[in-house]
């Protein structure tokens, strides 16, 4: 049992690596641009939070009580921030847009290779695998992949960047507090991992069942015509 589990985990990892290779190798340049855009977008949003602190402490506070305040510093700060935000927005658009090229391109390639490979398989394969199962790989499974590539991967990447940036900011504020938060987070991760495991198991079962529906339907269609 234990052994089986590790093998499965290894396979998941292998599959993921293979998938990532598709993503990175087909569109190398675009992928690099996507990474940079995500970093820009994430940093812009983290800087946004820091900006308020800086604005209040360093710009607004000195001016309080000043009868004839000089707004030029405030204006300058806001313009700088606006530029950073615009860069962030451009970054967001760029990675969203390029990710479409990448995800759709990868999906197209996967479908092509799958079909190509299917043509080379021996008849025995088609006798032993229900047609419904094969058909649902082209639609359902590829569709799930689409979500993974175009949403999950950039999301994970963007979150990691934000996390690193936020961690830096937190450590700069208070080391012990940050450590405490990290311990709490670890506990939370364990709890949610427990649940995630269960849900992924159900998810696989669902994908399987869908192919059965498909099969049932084709079977039934046949029946309708023969009676």
């Amino acid at each position: 049992m234990m052994q089986k589990k590790t093998v499965k985990n290894k396979n998941t990892f292998k599959t993921l690596k293979r998938l990532l290779k598709y993503v990175t190798s087909t569109y190398k340049l675009q992928f690099v641009v996507v990474c940079i855009s995500i970093i820009v977008s994430a940093i812009a949003s983290v800087l946004g939070v820091q900006f308020i602190k800086y604005l209040i402490d360093d710009i607004i506070t000195p001016l309080i009580g000043n009868g004839n305040p000089d707004y030029s510093n405030l204006l300058q700060a806001i313009i700088v921030m606006a530029v950073i935000y615009i860069l962030g927005i451009i970054g967001t658009y760029l990675y969203n847009r390029l990710m479409i090229n990448i995800s759709q391109g990868v999906l197209k390639r996967i479908r092509t290779e799958m079909f190509h490979h299917m043509q080379t398989l021996p008849i025995k394969y088609f006798d032993s695998h229900p047609h419904g199962e094969t058909m649902s790989t082209y639609t359902n499974d590829v569709d799930t992949l689409r979500q993974m590539i175009s949403q999950s991967i950039p999301q994970v990447f963007s979150c990691v960047i934000s996390m690193i940036a936020i961690l830096f900011a937190m450590f700069a504020t208070d080391i012990y507090m940050t450590l405490f938060v990290l311990v709490m987070i670890t506990i939370m991760v364990f709890v949610s991992r427990f649940f995630a495991k269960r849900s992924s198991k159900n998810f696989i079962a669902q994908q399987k069942n869908l192919s059965i529906v498909d099969r049932l339907y084709r079977r039934n269609d046949g029946r309708a015509k023969s009676c």
């Binding site: 209040i56 606006a82 092509t112 079909f115 058909m135 039934n220 269609d221 015509k225």
Partner: protein, 585 residues
């Protein structure tokens, strides 16, 4: 459309209602936590009251865990509700499809029905899950954050009220533009499915003729189209997040500029500005979530429409009110019958034109004609697989359209040219004809169909497992099993549509002999290419281009009918060599 679909929530109503309730609890907890934190800092720390800090701190920890628990519960119920909903949808569609006539199925195409049952339902399922979770969570968060912002400084909060509608309009335009592309994507998905399905079904032919490259090109065409359309649709949707960010960043900059002036002017506290911006971020994150749901809903909308089409489709062949529940006998009468397929153009030739035949109960009728002479079409009309366009068909003296469909089809058994066997044992397959049939009956009909012999030779006999599509029995054996299956229904009318084509002439003759002797009261219609299969029928109908060219016994036709005579002579000549070859099978 939503009303129609929501009917399918059925027994999962409880879960569908519990989900948003737990989401609300989760949001409340999330809102309470910063409030408690503020209490600790403002009251506890400032007064140096340790007791108070511990008390509120404990509540804080409990709230955090409750929030986590509520979040998980809502997730669980959402998953259950949405997959249950999807299950009911599939069931509803599947049941309705069972009522479809051939005309309905032709309209959708099989592959499209498959996509609708799988991909489209999955899309709707995911959207449903999003709606009952995120679509509840985000607006509540939004309203709460807005309310808090107003309570802090109503002048500043008006900035949100002005900018949000602009964003809403932008999102609306994005969805309006993207929706038609998604619609097209799913249509292309149908084609993709069809190409794959065809390839799978015909894989033997593809390999035998080395047509892999051609098939790949065909696939590549659809594949590229799916790719193009999907890209076009997603390109529009890609404006979603930037539009969102533009709005919120504009808000923050405006807040900073106006807020800073207010603080300096002494009308606002610095702390208030930072909390109002915190709420701005909360509003941003709920809007982000909303836009995410938005995309899913755009996609799901096209899918939902496609599902509703399947659910709404009414069978073109329906029971009349007070249908006739009993078929008197096996007599069949064609009166001026003409037939045209639904999708045919006006100038197309009629597949069947002005057919008049009177068949007595128990008679054996042979139908012969060149390919494309509508031999199969004529028999498809008897069990109402299609309805006649003009004229009428009477079975047992009653128009077929007046019968209860199930009653009629139970009495009319058709063995098709392309036979279908299912994976499972031989016994299971035969019992499709009649669930309650006893083992003795199974053997009896198999003897009639000359199938008992080869079944007994299998090591597992009637429990032999057939592969999908019956690939582990020969074509002739498959045909004989299908005949046995039809006989098990004990029909009043038995139609064999070229269903002994792979059986050797000797066995074919034995089957017909058994029919004559064992089921004399059943009307038998035999469609064949081989003249020997119909030669000994009571009467033979010669079809030519959808019209009757001649009716009569073999002897009569040989005298009077040119077509029959020609076929007869050409086949009889080669038959001697054929018989020898076939006999070896």
């Amino acid at each position: 459309m939503i009303k129609k679909l929501s009917k399918f929530i059925k027994e999962y109503k409880k879960d569908s209602i519990l989900t948003p309730i737990f989401v609300i609890f989760e949001v409340i907890m999330e809102v309470v936590i910063p409030y408690l934190m503020a209490k600790i800092i403002d009251v506890g720390v400032q007064n140096g009251d340790l007791n108070y800090i511990f008390k509120i701190g404990a509540i804080l920890v409990v709230s955090a865990f409750l929030s986590l628990a509520f979040g998980m519960l809502s997730g669980r119920f959402a998953a259950k509700a949405s997959s249950g909903f999807a299950k009911n949808l599939r069931k509803g569609m599947f049941y309705n499809i069972q009522n479809y006539s051939f005309t309905n199925i032709d309209k959708f195409s099989t592959s499209s029905l498959v996509t609708r049952l799988t991909t489209d339902v999955t899309n709707v399922q995911m959207a449903f899950q999003m709606i009952i979770r995120i679509l509840v969570r985000a607006p509540i968060m939004l309203i709460f954050a807005l309310a808090m912002a107003f309570s802090i400084n109503s002048n500043l909060a008006w900035i949100f009220v002005v900018t949000m509608p602009i964003l809403a309009v932008a999102l609306y335009f994005i969805s309006i533009k993207a929706h038609p592309y998604f619609e097209k994507v799913f249509k292309k998905y149908d084609v993709l499915n069809r190409v794959v399905g065809e390839n799978l079904n015909a894989i033997r032919v593809v390999k035998a003729y080395n047509r892999e490259e051609y098939e790949e090109k065909k696939f590549e065409d659809v594949n590229s189209k799916v790719y193009d359309l999907f890209k076009k649709a997603e390109k529009i949707v890609a404006f979603n997040s930037p539009a969102m960010q533009l709005t919120i960043y504009t808000c923050i900059l405006l807040l900073s500029w106006i807020g800073a002036k207010m603080i300096i002017g002494g009308t606002m506290q610095a702390g208030e500005l930072s909390s109002i911006i915190t709420y701005a971020w909360q509003i941003l994150s709920s809007l982000m979530m909303l836009s995410f749901v938005f995309v899913m809903v755009i996609i799901a909308q096209s899918s939902a429409e496609r599902i509703v089409e399947v659910l709404d489709e009414e069978s073109t062949i329906k029971n009349k009110e007070n249908p006739v529940m009993k078929v008197k006998d096996g007599s069949i009468k064609f009166e001026n019958v003409s037939f045209q397929y639904d999708d045919a153009k006006a100038e197309d030739e009629l597949p069947l034109e002005d057919i008049n035949i009177d068949i007595k109960s128990g008679e054996t009728i042979g139908i012969i004609g060149a390919t494309g002479s509508s031999k199969s079409t004529i028999v498809n009309l008897i069990p109402r697989l299609y309805d006649v366009t003009k004229g009428s068909i009477k079975v047992g003296g009653v128009d077929v359209r007046d019968y209860d469909i199930e009653t009629l089809r139970n009495e009319v058994a058709v063995v098709l040219q392309k036979n279908v066997l299912f994976s499972g044992t031989i016994k299971e397959n035969l019992k499709w004809g009649n669930k309650e049939a006893s083992d003795e009956e199974l053997v009896r009909v198999c003897k009639l169909a000359q199938a008992d012999g080869f079944i007994q030779e299998f090591p597992d006999k009637y429990d032999t497992i057939l592969d999908q599509g019956g690939t582990n029995v020969s074509g002739g054996q498959k045909q004989r099993l299908c005949i046995a299956r039809a006989l098990l229904k004990k029909p009043k009318i038995l139609i064999l549509d070229d269903s002994t084509s792979a059986v050797d002439t000797k066995t074919d003759a034995l089957i017909r002999k058994a029919f004559r002797e064992e089921i004399p009261n059943t009307t038998k219609i035999i469609i064949a290419q081989r003249i020997t299969s119909v030669e000994d029928a009571d009467r033979i109908v010669v079809l030519d281009d959808g019209k009757i060219n001649g009716i009569g016994t073999s002897e009569e036709l040989l005298e009077t009918n040119e077509i029959y005579k020609e076929v007869y002579e050409s086949q009889k000549k080669g038959d001697e060599d054929d018989a020898e070859e076939n006999g070896k099978e």
